[in-house]
């Protein structure tokens, strides 16, 4: 079925966006990315390490995967805007996963700094994909600021706690005019399927794959879960009922 994820006019046949953090090696990461079927994958920007061997950029290039730089580690709008501009220079893309976190303990987004950074980056011509709280009002503000998608968390980054407030994710999906991508908190395949069943346009995950016992197997599980959840969403689930509804005809 031809059902692409379209962000800012660009179509992706996979609805699974991967992160690259946490993988034990580039080799393991490469096999996981291939198994996931992803076409868009995040990287972080850091000071060059003269001793580093191998490059995540080369790996993505070899796999034909588009790179999505993030602003991970930024606590203020000023820092995030600077990192986004550095990423645009280094990688030749104006797409950015905007992350502005409030503190190291929760890694929750700082809503005020996030919105400020989003406004500045949109004005500078960036395609902004903000990692945001599961707050329908903030999601609306980000969309109105010109973001190309909104990416609410299911639960804190790396926690694997799944989607703690499904109702809020549904509310965000219902009113959003841009793709909603569930970002952060996915623990296992069923969480990804639920995100898609709730109507999300895609899922972004890293830890649940890269730190799984078998990243390659989990990546395949995520690929299937995202597809299954998407199909279920399009198909429309049956209503929940209080009492039974016989599925066989009554006895004559």
């Amino acid at each position: 079925m031809d059902d692409p994820l379209v962000i800012a006019g660009e179509a992706f046949s996979s609805r699974l966006i991967m992160g690259t953090g946490g993988a034990p090696s580039l080799d393991v990461l490469g096999r996981a990315l291939a198994a996931s079927g992803t076409e868009l994958t995040t990287v972080a920007m850091r000071r060059v390490d003269p001793a580093a061997t191998g490059s995540v950029l080369d790996l993505l290039k070899d796999h034909g995967i588009r790179v999505l730089p993030n602003t991970a580690g930024c606590f203020t709008a000023v820092e995030a805007v600077r990192v986004a501009k550095l990423a645009r220079e280094a990688l030749g893309t104006a797409w950015v996963k905007l992350e502005v976190i409030a503190d190291e303990r929760t890694l929750l987004p700082d809503p005020l700094e996030l919105l400020t950074a989003a406004e500045q980056l949109v004005a500078d011509g960036f395609t902004v994909l903000p990692y945001t709280n599961d707050d329908p009002v903030l999601a609306r503000h980000l969309e109105q600021a010109g973001c190309a998608a909104v990416m609410p968390l299911g639960s804190p980054i790396g926690s694997g706690l799944g989607i703690r407030n499904q109702h809020n994710i549904e509310l965000i999906v219902e009113s959003a005019g841009v793709p909603v991508i569930l970002d952060a908190g996915i623990g296992t395949a069923s969480d990804a399927a639920i995100a898609m069943e709730l109507g999300c346009a895609g899922v972004l995950l890293a830890t649940s794959v890269t730190r799984a016992r078998s990243p390659e197997l989990m990546a395949e599980a995520m690929r299937l879960a995202v597809s299954a959840g998407r199909l279920a969403c399009l198909a429309g689930r049956v209503p929940r009922r209080k009492l039974a509804l016989a599925s066989s005809p009554p006895v004559e």
Binding site: G19, V43, R47, V48, D49, P50, V67
Partner: protein, 66 residues
């Protein structure tokens, strides 16, 4: 004069260009960006950008993350 490259102080001759400062930490042709005192400098301007005493140079690249 003395400049800082990625947090490390380095002795430098007057008139050192940003391109030369970047070359102290990497010889990558692509995938690298630089900022001087927080201002991002386009690669095309690295040769012509002369550093001054006390300048803070940041040289970044993509790593696994997110």
């Amino acid at each position: 004069m003395e400049i800082t490259v990625n947090g490390e102080p380095r002795a430098a001759t007057a008139g050192l260009s940003l391109a030369q400062a970047v070359a102290l930490v990497t010889n990558a042709e692509t995938g690298v960006a630089a900022a001087v005192n927080g201002d991002v400098i386009r690669r095309a301007a690295w040769e012509a950008t002369q550093l001054s005493d006390g300048d803070q140079v940041e040289v970044l690249t993509a790593v696994q993350g997110g």
